[in-house]
Amino acid sequence: MCGIAGLFAKTRDTEARLGTDLAAMLSELAARGPDSAGVAIYRDPVPEGSVKLSLLHSRGDEPDWARVAADLGHALGGHVALEVRGGSCAIARADAGGAEAEACLRAVAPDISVIATGQAIELMKRAGAPAELIVRSGLSALEGTHALGHTRMATESRVTTEHSHPFSTGPDLCLVHNGSLSNHNRLRASLRREGLTFATDNDSEVAAGYLTWRMAGGATLDEALEGALRDLDGFFTFAVGTRDGFAVLRDPVACKPAVLAETDDWVAMASEYRAIAVLPGAEDAEVWEPVPGRIYSWSHEGEGTTRPDASTRGDLTGVV
């Protein structure tokens, strides 16, 4: 199975309670997969020229994060602010480029991996059920513009923190997946030849890498997802986050469930309606089942919020 949740704030009030609401959604889905859990929350962006690094230490004792911050700052020749999110995860902010910061971190703390970089994204993951991640990461206290969550029932690669979703393979982009891909090994090899790197043998990480590759080539998120419909073979319901927005896509066979809901305050997606029922105002939301093979996306870019209009939503509505 696996459970996916996504929440996109349309008002300041929803932004203020984003972490609380996503935690509630993810908790409802825990029974769909208690192997590991992860969240990505887009919040409090750093300015151009600076970077946020989401750090993970998954083996052995928890690191001395203050020392990591000091060493990284020293290597970069500037101050590094570091916020610990539950012992094994931390968010570092540095006045540097992402590649430079990653290279310096590898040099000063080789046992710590960077699981996301960007200006707004903050990513935390942990083996075990979502409850533990939620408590230890302090998710409920975080405000943000949009967020994705995942609770995993592993079907095709090992249960480790590194194999947990979301997967982030490019700046501010991340993906959560319910399903399984059948052509991920060949696709991973192709993407490696294009210069992408992968941290695991997980199929979903390849899907994230594919989108990163398409978007690095100039595609919009919607265009990259159109490509995914052609090039990814297998079952999937994806939710994808970018700096400004999020999107949902199901493969054309659509075995894997998904529900979308929208109010004046938020857009939410989840594997099941019960994860949406916990949101304020859910009883008055417009609720529909995303049509197989159709891209649904929302963005904070520019004025207000863009969203698919009713005519492009398809005529099949329902709840999964």
């Binding site: 659509a254 949406i276 509505t317 709840v319």
Partner: protein, 229 residues
């Protein structure tokens, strides 16, 4: 002898577990009425019923609502998740909103009336029940359906009736494509009469003459030794 109106018992799922709800419904006797509040997308609401009770559910339900039930009459005021009325044996299940995947799968008897749309695999492996949809349905409708009737007032997705046996399919809107061994058949008077009955039973207003009938070409029924290389 005068009849006495008895107010339905109210069960609030904000305070009661699904197990308690279903235990009470299973212990109920013919003619009793229930109103279920705050289902909030929970699974297995009113599953496995086995008496002629009347159940009104106020809100959206999750997976397997009314699954395996017999004799009961249910009305869901909202949407239903995957597996609505799966393996229904008899009785009536009505949804005022839409239903998700595989509504009425393997259902043996009774009527499933969906006011909105149904998603993919509606009536998959149908075994005798009637499924009547006022809106549209998704792909793989009535896949391997063996007996019963599927009526769709709206449009139908790809591969309708793939590997169909004896179930009868009626569609008013567009059919994206027919599955293997499913063909259009003549809508004769007896079919129009059957359709009128089904539409009336579901409470949907539609003209039987506007529908097209589909069924099995029966070419997949038997194993053909001459197809073996």
């Amino acid at each position: 002898m005068s009849t006495v109106e008895v107010a339905p018992a109210v069960i609030d799922l904000a305070e009661t577990t699904i197990r308690e709800l279903n235990s009470r419904l299973h212990a109920a006797e013919d003619g009793e009425g229930f109103r279920v509040l705050h289902p909030a997308g929970r699974h297995s609401v009113a599953a496995g019923l086995d008496s002629a009770i009347d159940v009104e559910i106020d809100g959206h339900v999750g997976y397997y609502c009314a699954g395996m039930s017999a004799s009961a009459s249910l009305r869901i005021h909202g949407n239903a998740g995957p597996g609505l009325a799966e393996n229904l044996m008899s009785g009536r299940v009505e949804v005022t909103g839409s239903a998700s995947q595989y509504a009425g799968a393997t259902a043996h008897g009774g009527l499933i009336a969906i006011h909105g749309d149904a998603s993919s695999r509606c009536g998959i492996s149908l075994k005798g029940a009637d499924v009547v949809v006022q809106g549209s349905i998704g792909h793989m409708g009535a896949f391997m359906a063996q007996s019963g009737r599927l009526v769709v007032c709206g449009d139908v997705g790809e591969a309708l009736g793939d590997s169909l046996y004896e179930a009868r399919l009626y569609v008013r809107g567009n059919v994206a494509s027919l599955g293997a061994d499913c063909i259009e058949k003549e809508l004769r008077d007896e079919h129009a009469a059957e359709l009128a009955e089904l539409l009336a039973a579901a409470g949907f207003d539609a003209e039987p003459g506007d529908f097209r009938r589909y069924g099995s070409a029966r070419t997949l029924y038997n194993f053909h030794a001459d197809r073996v290389d």
